[in-house]
Protein backbone atom coordinates (compact mmCIF):
# COMPACT_ATOMS: atom_id res chain seq x y z
CA UNK A 1 0.00 0.00 0.00
CA UNK A 2 2.27 2.76 -1.21
CA UNK A 3 0.58 5.95 -0.04
CA UNK A 4 3.48 7.80 1.44
CA UNK A 5 5.17 8.63 -1.84
CA UNK A 6 2.30 10.42 -3.64
CA UNK A 7 1.45 12.11 -0.39
CA UNK A 8 4.96 13.45 -0.10
CA UNK A 9 5.14 14.51 -3.74
CA UNK A 10 1.80 16.31 -3.84
CA UNK A 11 2.17 17.72 -0.35
CA UNK A 12 5.65 18.89 -1.33
CA UNK A 13 4.35 20.62 -4.45
CA UNK A 14 1.61 22.27 -2.39
CA UNK A 15 4.22 23.39 0.11
CA UNK A 16 6.57 24.75 -2.55
CA UNK A 17 3.89 26.79 -4.27
CA UNK A 18 2.26 27.86 -1.01
CA UNK A 19 5.63 29.13 0.17
CA UNK A 20 6.43 30.82 -3.14
CA UNK A 21 3.08 32.55 -3.26
CA UNK A 22 3.20 33.76 0.33
CA UNK A 23 6.81 34.94 -0.14
CA UNK A 24 5.81 36.75 -3.31
CA UNK A 25 2.76 38.25 -1.59
CA UNK A 26 5.05 39.81 1.04
CA UNK A 27 8.07 40.64 -1.10
CA UNK A 28 6.05 42.14 -3.94
CA UNK A 29 3.24 43.64 -1.86
CA UNK A 30 2.01 46.79 -3.52
CA UNK A 31 0.88 49.47 -1.07
CA UNK A 32 -2.39 50.52 -2.58
CA UNK A 33 -4.44 53.29 -1.17
CA UNK A 34 -7.58 51.30 -0.43
CA UNK A 35 -9.56 54.53 -0.61
CA UNK A 36 -8.97 54.40 -4.39
CA UNK A 37 -10.83 51.11 -4.44
CA UNK A 38 -13.77 52.54 -2.50
CA UNK A 39 -14.01 55.69 -4.61
CA UNK A 40 -13.76 53.59 -7.80
CA UNK A 41 -16.74 51.54 -6.59
CA UNK A 42 -18.73 54.73 -6.00
CA UNK A 43 -18.12 55.98 -9.53
CA UNK A 44 -20.64 54.68 -12.09
CA UNK A 45 -18.05 52.32 -13.50
CA UNK A 46 -19.01 52.94 -17.14
CA UNK A 47 -15.37 53.83 -17.94
CA UNK A 48 -16.81 56.37 -20.40
CA UNK A 49 -13.80 58.72 -20.16
CA UNK A 50 -15.98 61.85 -19.98
CA UNK A 51 -13.76 63.10 -17.13
CA UNK A 52 -10.79 62.74 -19.45
CA UNK A 53 -9.15 59.90 -17.52
CA UNK A 54 -8.70 56.23 -18.51
CA UNK A 55 -11.75 54.72 -16.89
CA UNK A 56 -13.12 55.05 -13.37
CA UNK A 57 -10.04 53.62 -11.64
CA UNK A 58 -7.88 56.27 -13.33
CA UNK A 59 -10.26 58.99 -12.23
CA UNK A 60 -10.54 57.54 -8.71
CA UNK A 61 -6.76 57.67 -8.24
CA UNK A 62 -6.68 61.32 -9.33
CA UNK A 63 -9.66 62.23 -7.08
CA UNK A 64 -8.09 60.57 -4.00
CA UNK A 65 -4.75 62.28 -4.67
CA UNK A 66 -6.65 65.54 -5.02
CA UNK A 67 -5.31 66.33 -8.51
CA UNK A 68 -8.82 66.71 -9.91
CA UNK A 69 -11.98 68.17 -8.25
CA UNK A 70 -14.36 65.80 -6.47
CA UNK A 71 -17.13 66.38 -9.02
CA UNK A 72 -14.90 65.62 -12.01
CA UNK A 73 -17.24 62.78 -12.88
CA UNK A 74 -20.01 64.55 -14.84
CA UNK A 75 -21.81 61.26 -15.29
CA UNK A 76 -22.00 60.64 -11.55
CA UNK A 77 -23.10 64.20 -10.94
CA UNK A 78 -23.96 65.58 -7.53
CA UNK A 79 -25.01 62.28 -5.96
CA UNK A 80 -21.63 60.64 -6.50
CA UNK A 81 -19.54 63.69 -5.64
CA UNK A 82 -21.37 64.07 -2.30
CA UNK A 83 -20.67 60.47 -1.34
CA UNK A 84 -17.02 60.81 -2.31
CA UNK A 85 -16.80 63.89 -0.14
CA UNK A 86 -17.99 61.87 2.85
CA UNK A 87 -15.32 59.25 2.23
CA UNK A 88 -12.52 61.74 1.71
CA UNK A 89 -13.79 64.02 4.47
CA UNK A 90 -14.18 67.08 2.20
CA UNK A 91 -17.12 69.49 2.25
CA UNK A 92 -19.64 68.83 -0.56
CA UNK A 93 -19.21 70.99 -3.67
CA UNK A 94 -22.13 72.69 -5.54
CA UNK A 95 -22.26 70.71 -8.78
CA UNK A 96 -22.98 72.79 -11.89
CA UNK A 97 -26.22 72.14 -13.78
CA UNK A 98 -26.46 68.96 -15.81
CA UNK A 99 -26.18 69.34 -19.60
CA UNK A 100 -28.34 67.58 -22.18
CA UNK A 101 -27.41 66.88 -25.84
CA UNK A 102 -29.56 68.70 -28.40
CA UNK A 103 -29.67 67.87 -32.11
CA UNK A 104 -29.16 71.03 -34.15
CA UNK A 105 -30.83 69.67 -37.31
CA UNK A 106 -34.47 69.05 -38.27
CA UNK A 107 -33.62 67.44 -41.61
CA UNK A 108 -35.87 64.41 -41.36
CA UNK A 109 -36.08 61.98 -44.29
CA UNK A 110 -39.26 63.55 -45.70
CA UNK A 111 -37.88 67.12 -45.90
CA UNK A 112 -34.36 66.43 -47.15
CA UNK A 113 -33.09 65.41 -50.60
CA UNK A 114 -30.58 62.56 -51.07
CA UNK A 115 -27.78 62.70 -53.68
CA UNK A 116 -27.65 58.89 -54.01
CA UNK A 117 -28.89 55.80 -52.23
CA UNK A 118 -26.30 54.69 -49.68
CA UNK A 119 -26.05 50.94 -48.88
CA UNK A 120 -22.68 50.94 -47.19
CA UNK A 121 -21.69 50.39 -43.56
CA UNK A 122 -24.38 51.95 -41.28
CA UNK A 123 -22.03 54.47 -39.70
CA UNK A 124 -21.89 58.23 -40.23
CA UNK A 125 -18.10 58.35 -40.43
CA UNK A 126 -18.13 55.60 -43.08
CA UNK A 127 -20.93 57.33 -45.03
CA UNK A 128 -18.99 60.59 -45.06
CA UNK A 129 -16.21 58.94 -47.06
CA UNK A 130 -18.53 58.66 -50.09
CA UNK A 131 -18.35 62.25 -51.46
CA UNK A 132 -19.44 63.85 -48.23
CA UNK A 133 -22.44 61.70 -47.36
CA UNK A 134 -25.62 60.76 -49.26
CA UNK A 135 -27.60 63.87 -48.27
CA UNK A 136 -27.63 66.93 -50.50
CA UNK A 137 -27.09 69.06 -47.37
CA UNK A 138 -23.38 68.90 -46.47
CA UNK A 139 -24.06 69.76 -42.81
CA UNK A 140 -27.21 67.78 -41.98
CA UNK A 141 -27.66 64.70 -39.77
CA UNK A 142 -27.17 61.45 -41.74
CA UNK A 143 -29.12 59.45 -39.16
CA UNK A 144 -26.82 56.39 -39.25
CA UNK A 145 -26.48 56.32 -35.46
CA UNK A 146 -22.79 56.82 -34.69
CA UNK A 147 -23.98 58.87 -31.72
CA UNK A 148 -26.38 56.09 -30.69
CA UNK A 149 -23.56 53.53 -30.79
CA UNK A 150 -21.19 55.85 -28.93
CA UNK A 151 -23.48 56.45 -25.96
CA UNK A 152 -22.32 54.18 -23.11
CA UNK A 153 -25.68 54.64 -21.32
CA UNK A 154 -27.95 53.77 -24.26
CA UNK A 155 -29.70 57.13 -23.80
CA UNK A 156 -29.93 57.83 -27.54
CA UNK A 157 -32.30 56.10 -29.94
CA UNK A 158 -32.57 56.69 -33.66
CA UNK A 159 -36.13 57.93 -34.47
CA UNK A 160 -37.87 56.54 -37.58
CA UNK A 161 -37.60 60.01 -39.13
CA UNK A 162 -33.82 59.62 -39.15
CA UNK A 163 -32.94 61.95 -36.25
CA UNK A 164 -31.59 60.84 -32.84
CA UNK A 165 -33.94 61.19 -29.84
CA UNK A 166 -32.53 61.77 -26.33
CA UNK A 167 -33.87 59.75 -23.36
CA UNK A 168 -33.82 62.30 -20.52
CA UNK A 169 -33.48 59.93 -17.53
CA UNK A 170 -30.75 57.74 -18.96
CA UNK A 171 -28.69 60.62 -20.26
CA UNK A 172 -25.90 61.49 -17.78
CA UNK A 173 -24.62 64.51 -19.73
CA UNK A 174 -21.18 62.97 -20.38
CA UNK A 175 -21.07 64.56 -23.87
CA UNK A 176 -19.62 61.53 -25.68
CA UNK A 177 -22.35 61.75 -28.36
CA UNK A 178 -21.47 65.39 -29.01
CA UNK A 179 -17.85 64.42 -29.73
CA UNK A 180 -18.87 61.31 -31.66
CA UNK A 181 -21.00 63.22 -34.21
CA UNK A 182 -18.67 63.83 -37.18
CA UNK A 183 -20.66 66.93 -38.23
CA UNK A 184 -20.92 68.45 -34.70
CA UNK A 185 -24.72 68.55 -34.94
CA UNK A 186 -25.16 67.51 -31.31
CA UNK A 187 -24.32 70.23 -28.79
CA UNK A 188 -24.68 70.15 -24.99
CA UNK A 189 -27.25 72.63 -23.66
CA UNK A 190 -28.17 73.30 -20.02
CA UNK A 191 -31.11 71.20 -18.84
CA UNK A 192 -33.05 74.22 -17.65
CA UNK A 193 -32.35 76.49 -20.66
CA UNK A 194 -35.77 77.76 -21.83
CA UNK A 195 -34.59 80.14 -24.56
CA UNK A 196 -34.76 79.64 -28.34
CA UNK A 197 -32.39 77.67 -30.56
CA UNK A 198 -31.81 77.68 -34.32
CA UNK A 199 -32.03 73.93 -34.97
CA UNK A 200 -29.90 73.96 -38.09
CA UNK A 201 -26.22 73.47 -38.90
CA UNK A 202 -26.15 74.40 -42.59
CA UNK A 203 -23.59 77.03 -43.65
CA UNK A 204 -24.57 76.72 -47.34
CA UNK A 205 -25.83 79.71 -49.27
CA UNK A 206 -29.61 80.20 -49.20
CA UNK A 207 -30.16 78.74 -52.70
CA UNK A 208 -28.26 75.49 -52.02
CA UNK A 209 -29.98 75.03 -48.65
CA UNK A 210 -33.41 75.53 -50.20
CA UNK A 211 -32.66 72.85 -52.84
CA UNK A 212 -31.24 70.44 -50.21
CA UNK A 213 -33.78 70.81 -47.45
CA UNK A 214 -37.28 72.21 -46.98
CA UNK A 215 -36.58 73.52 -43.45
CA UNK A 216 -32.88 74.50 -43.52
CA UNK A 217 -31.87 78.04 -42.42
CA UNK A 218 -31.05 80.22 -45.48
CA UNK A 219 -29.55 83.10 -43.46
CA UNK A 220 -32.36 85.54 -44.45
CA UNK A 221 -31.77 87.51 -41.20
CA UNK A 222 -35.54 87.92 -40.48
CA UNK A 223 -34.89 86.69 -36.94
CA UNK A 224 -32.30 89.42 -36.26
CA UNK A 225 -34.87 92.17 -36.93
CA UNK A 226 -37.51 90.38 -34.82
CA UNK A 227 -35.34 89.75 -31.76
CA UNK A 228 -35.81 92.48 -29.01
CA UNK A 229 -32.61 91.51 -27.14
CA UNK A 230 -30.15 91.34 -30.13
CA UNK A 231 -29.50 87.73 -29.14
CA UNK A 232 -29.27 86.60 -32.77
CA UNK A 233 -26.29 86.85 -35.14
CA UNK A 234 -25.95 85.36 -38.64
CA UNK A 235 -22.61 84.01 -39.92
CA UNK A 236 -22.10 82.03 -43.18
CA UNK A 237 -25.84 82.09 -43.89
CA UNK A 238 -26.64 80.42 -40.54
CA UNK A 239 -28.45 82.16 -37.62
CA UNK A 240 -27.07 81.59 -34.09
CA UNK A 241 -28.87 82.53 -30.85
CA UNK A 242 -26.65 83.34 -27.87
CA UNK A 243 -28.18 81.39 -24.93
CA UNK A 244 -27.02 84.07 -22.44
CA UNK A 245 -28.88 86.96 -24.11
CA UNK A 246 -32.03 85.08 -25.16
CA UNK A 247 -34.97 85.28 -22.70
CA UNK A 248 -37.19 82.90 -24.74
CA UNK A 249 -39.73 85.58 -25.84
CA UNK A 250 -40.29 83.59 -29.09
CA UNK A 251 -40.45 86.64 -31.44
CA UNK A 252 -37.91 85.01 -33.72
CA UNK A 253 -39.89 81.75 -33.80
CA UNK A 254 -42.84 83.51 -35.56
CA UNK A 255 -40.55 85.65 -37.73
CA UNK A 256 -38.65 82.68 -39.12
CA UNK A 257 -40.16 81.82 -42.54
CA UNK A 258 -38.43 78.39 -42.49
CA UNK A 259 -39.86 77.49 -39.03
CA UNK A 260 -36.38 76.26 -37.99
CA UNK A 261 -36.19 78.18 -34.69
CA UNK A 262 -37.66 76.34 -31.73
CA UNK A 263 -37.91 77.12 -28.02
CA UNK A 264 -35.91 74.70 -25.87
CA UNK A 265 -38.50 71.98 -26.04
CA UNK A 266 -36.77 68.59 -26.28
CA UNK A 267 -36.36 67.50 -29.89
CA UNK A 268 -39.52 65.43 -30.02
CA UNK A 269 -40.06 66.05 -33.70
Amino acid sequence: MNIVLPLVVLGGLGLVFGGLLSFAAQRFAVEEDERVEIVADLLPGANCGACGYPGCIGAAEKIVSGEIPVDACTVGGKVVSDRICEILGLEPVAADAKKIPTVFCLGTKDVTVDKFEYQGVPDCNAALMYSGGFKACEYGCLGLGTCVEACPFEALQMGENGLPVVDEERCTGCGICANACPRGIIRMMDVDYSGCMVLCNSKDRGGTTRRACKVGCTGCKACIKACPNEAVVVEDYLAYIDPAKCDGCGECVEACRRDIIKTAVKVAV
Partner: protein, 192 residues
Protein backbone atom coordinates in the same frame (compact mmCIF):
# COMPACT_ATOMS: atom_id res chain seq x y z
CA UNK B 1 10.98 14.86 -35.79
CA UNK B 2 12.72 18.05 -36.85
CA UNK B 3 12.00 21.22 -34.90
CA UNK B 4 10.87 22.96 -38.06
CA UNK B 5 8.17 20.32 -38.55
CA UNK B 6 7.02 20.83 -34.96
CA UNK B 7 6.82 24.61 -35.42
CA UNK B 8 4.96 24.37 -38.73
CA UNK B 9 2.48 21.78 -37.46
CA UNK B 10 1.91 23.56 -34.14
CA UNK B 11 1.18 26.93 -35.73
CA UNK B 12 -0.58 26.05 -38.97
CA UNK B 13 -1.36 22.41 -39.62
CA UNK B 14 -2.64 21.51 -36.16
CA UNK B 15 -3.51 24.96 -34.76
CA UNK B 16 -4.45 24.64 -31.12
CA UNK B 17 -7.66 26.67 -31.51
CA UNK B 18 -8.90 25.61 -34.95
CA UNK B 19 -7.95 21.95 -34.96
CA UNK B 20 -7.55 20.89 -31.35
CA UNK B 21 -10.37 22.99 -29.83
CA UNK B 22 -8.23 24.11 -26.92
CA UNK B 23 -8.40 27.58 -25.34
CA UNK B 24 -11.76 28.47 -26.91
CA UNK B 25 -13.23 30.21 -23.81
CA UNK B 26 -10.58 32.94 -23.57
CA UNK B 27 -10.40 32.95 -27.38
CA UNK B 28 -14.07 33.99 -27.65
CA UNK B 29 -13.84 36.31 -24.68
CA UNK B 30 -10.75 38.29 -25.53
CA UNK B 31 -10.77 38.59 -29.30
CA UNK B 32 -13.00 41.66 -29.33
CA UNK B 33 -10.26 44.19 -29.90
CA UNK B 34 -6.82 43.97 -31.47
CA UNK B 35 -4.67 45.40 -28.65
CA UNK B 36 -6.36 43.22 -26.03
CA UNK B 37 -5.74 40.17 -28.22
CA UNK B 38 -2.07 41.03 -28.58
CA UNK B 39 -1.79 41.53 -24.81
CA UNK B 40 -3.42 38.16 -24.16
CA UNK B 41 -1.24 36.52 -26.81
CA UNK B 42 2.00 37.70 -25.21
CA UNK B 43 0.80 36.67 -21.75
CA UNK B 44 -0.09 33.20 -23.10
CA UNK B 45 3.28 32.79 -24.87
CA UNK B 46 5.12 33.69 -21.68
CA UNK B 47 3.09 31.49 -19.32
CA UNK B 48 2.87 28.55 -21.76
CA UNK B 49 6.63 28.41 -22.28
CA UNK B 50 7.33 28.75 -18.56
CA UNK B 51 4.78 26.13 -17.52
CA UNK B 52 5.92 23.72 -20.29
CA UNK B 53 9.46 23.75 -18.89
CA UNK B 54 8.42 23.35 -15.25
CA UNK B 55 5.86 20.62 -16.02
CA UNK B 56 8.40 18.72 -18.15
CA UNK B 57 11.00 18.84 -15.38
CA UNK B 58 8.52 17.79 -12.69
CA UNK B 59 7.12 14.98 -14.87
CA UNK B 60 10.41 13.49 -15.90
CA UNK B 61 12.35 13.94 -12.68
CA UNK B 62 9.62 13.57 -10.07
CA UNK B 63 6.63 11.66 -11.39
CA UNK B 64 8.20 9.09 -13.71
CA UNK B 65 11.07 7.92 -11.43
CA UNK B 66 8.57 7.30 -8.59
CA UNK B 67 6.02 5.78 -10.98
CA UNK B 68 3.36 8.40 -10.09
CA UNK B 69 1.97 8.92 -13.57
CA UNK B 70 -1.57 9.21 -12.28
CA UNK B 71 -0.67 12.39 -10.40
CA UNK B 72 0.08 14.04 -13.73
CA UNK B 73 -3.13 16.04 -14.07
CA UNK B 74 -3.23 17.40 -10.56
CA UNK B 75 0.48 18.18 -10.43
CA UNK B 76 0.39 20.02 -13.77
CA UNK B 77 -2.63 22.11 -12.91
CA UNK B 78 -1.18 23.03 -9.52
CA UNK B 79 2.03 24.15 -11.21
CA UNK B 80 0.16 26.20 -13.82
CA UNK B 81 -2.13 27.89 -11.29
CA UNK B 82 0.82 28.61 -8.98
CA UNK B 83 2.98 29.96 -11.80
CA UNK B 84 0.24 32.25 -13.11
CA UNK B 85 -0.42 33.68 -9.66
CA UNK B 86 3.32 34.11 -9.10
CA UNK B 87 3.74 35.94 -12.42
CA UNK B 88 0.73 38.10 -11.52
CA UNK B 89 2.10 39.23 -8.14
CA UNK B 90 5.62 39.84 -9.44
CA UNK B 91 4.35 41.73 -12.49
CA UNK B 92 2.06 43.87 -10.31
CA UNK B 93 5.07 45.13 -8.38
CA UNK B 94 7.77 45.38 -10.98
CA UNK B 95 5.80 46.70 -13.96
CA UNK B 96 2.35 48.13 -13.03
CA UNK B 97 1.60 49.50 -16.53
CA UNK B 98 2.21 46.12 -18.18
CA UNK B 99 0.21 44.54 -15.34
CA UNK B 100 -2.74 46.84 -15.98
CA UNK B 101 -2.60 45.89 -19.67
CA UNK B 102 -2.24 42.15 -19.10
CA UNK B 103 -3.47 41.92 -15.51
CA UNK B 104 -7.04 41.01 -16.25
CA UNK B 105 -5.98 38.15 -18.53
CA UNK B 106 -3.72 36.39 -16.05
CA UNK B 107 -6.47 34.77 -13.95
CA UNK B 108 -8.15 34.00 -17.25
CA UNK B 109 -5.05 32.08 -18.30
CA UNK B 110 -5.23 29.72 -15.35
CA UNK B 111 -8.50 28.31 -16.64
CA UNK B 112 -7.19 28.33 -20.21
CA UNK B 113 -7.32 24.67 -21.21
CA UNK B 114 -4.71 25.30 -23.88
CA UNK B 115 -1.93 25.58 -21.30
CA UNK B 116 -2.78 22.34 -19.52
CA UNK B 117 -3.51 20.79 -22.92
CA UNK B 118 -0.05 21.67 -24.22
CA UNK B 119 1.59 20.32 -21.06
CA UNK B 120 -0.23 17.00 -21.47
CA UNK B 121 0.37 16.83 -25.24
CA UNK B 122 4.07 17.42 -24.64
CA UNK B 123 4.16 14.56 -22.18
CA UNK B 124 2.13 12.22 -24.40
CA UNK B 125 4.36 12.89 -27.37
CA UNK B 126 7.40 12.14 -25.18
CA UNK B 127 9.19 15.31 -26.34
CA UNK B 128 12.63 16.07 -24.94
CA UNK B 129 13.20 19.44 -23.20
CA UNK B 130 14.12 21.31 -26.40
CA UNK B 131 11.13 19.98 -28.32
CA UNK B 132 8.88 20.78 -25.34
CA UNK B 133 9.90 24.45 -25.27
CA UNK B 134 9.75 24.82 -29.06
CA UNK B 135 6.34 23.14 -29.22
CA UNK B 136 4.95 25.28 -26.34
CA UNK B 137 6.14 28.55 -27.88
CA UNK B 138 4.96 27.52 -31.36
CA UNK B 139 1.51 26.59 -30.06
CA UNK B 140 1.30 29.90 -28.17
CA UNK B 141 2.24 31.78 -31.34
CA UNK B 142 -0.44 29.80 -33.19
CA UNK B 143 -2.91 30.81 -30.48
CA UNK B 144 -1.89 34.47 -30.78
CA UNK B 145 -2.19 34.40 -34.57
CA UNK B 146 -5.65 32.87 -34.34
CA UNK B 147 -6.58 35.52 -31.76
CA UNK B 148 -5.33 38.42 -33.90
CA UNK B 149 -7.02 37.20 -37.09
CA UNK B 150 -10.25 36.82 -35.18
CA UNK B 151 -9.94 40.24 -33.52
CA UNK B 152 -9.44 41.89 -36.90
CA UNK B 153 -12.54 40.20 -38.30
CA UNK B 154 -14.66 40.86 -35.24
CA UNK B 155 -13.85 44.58 -35.24
CA UNK B 156 -15.33 44.77 -38.74
CA UNK B 157 -18.22 42.53 -37.74
CA UNK B 158 -19.22 45.21 -35.21
CA UNK B 159 -20.23 47.42 -38.13
CA UNK B 160 -22.01 44.74 -40.12
CA UNK B 161 -25.77 44.90 -39.78
CA UNK B 162 -26.38 41.48 -38.32
CA UNK B 163 -29.51 40.22 -36.57
CA UNK B 164 -29.16 40.89 -32.85
CA UNK B 165 -29.38 37.17 -32.05
CA UNK B 166 -26.29 36.31 -34.04
CA UNK B 167 -24.12 39.06 -32.66
CA UNK B 168 -21.33 38.21 -30.23
CA UNK B 169 -20.38 34.59 -29.61
CA UNK B 170 -22.61 33.06 -32.30
CA UNK B 171 -21.07 34.93 -35.22
CA UNK B 172 -17.55 34.53 -33.83
CA UNK B 173 -18.04 30.75 -33.67
CA UNK B 174 -19.21 30.62 -37.25
CA UNK B 175 -16.25 32.79 -38.29
CA UNK B 176 -13.92 30.50 -36.36
CA UNK B 177 -15.46 27.57 -38.24
CA UNK B 178 -14.61 29.16 -41.57
CA UNK B 179 -11.09 30.01 -40.37
CA UNK B 180 -10.70 26.43 -39.18
CA UNK B 181 -11.72 25.28 -42.66
CA UNK B 182 -8.98 27.50 -44.09
CA UNK B 183 -6.39 26.19 -41.63
CA UNK B 184 -7.27 22.62 -42.63
CA UNK B 185 -5.65 23.49 -45.93
CA UNK B 186 -2.23 23.35 -44.30
CA UNK B 187 -2.78 19.81 -43.11
CA UNK B 188 -1.28 17.85 -45.93
CA UNK B 189 1.88 19.92 -46.40
CA UNK B 190 3.95 18.62 -43.53
CA UNK B 191 3.26 16.13 -40.75
CA UNK B 192 5.00 15.43 -37.48
Amino acid sequence: MSLLAIIFVAILADNIVFNQFLGICPYLGVSKRLETSLGMGIAVIFVMALSAIVTWVVYNFLLIPFDLGYLRTIAFILIIAGLVQLVETILKKTNPTLFRALGIYLPLITTNCAILGVAILNVQAEHNIIETIVYAIAVAIGFTIALIIMAGIRERLELADLSSHLRGAAVSLVTAGILSLAFMGFKGIMTL
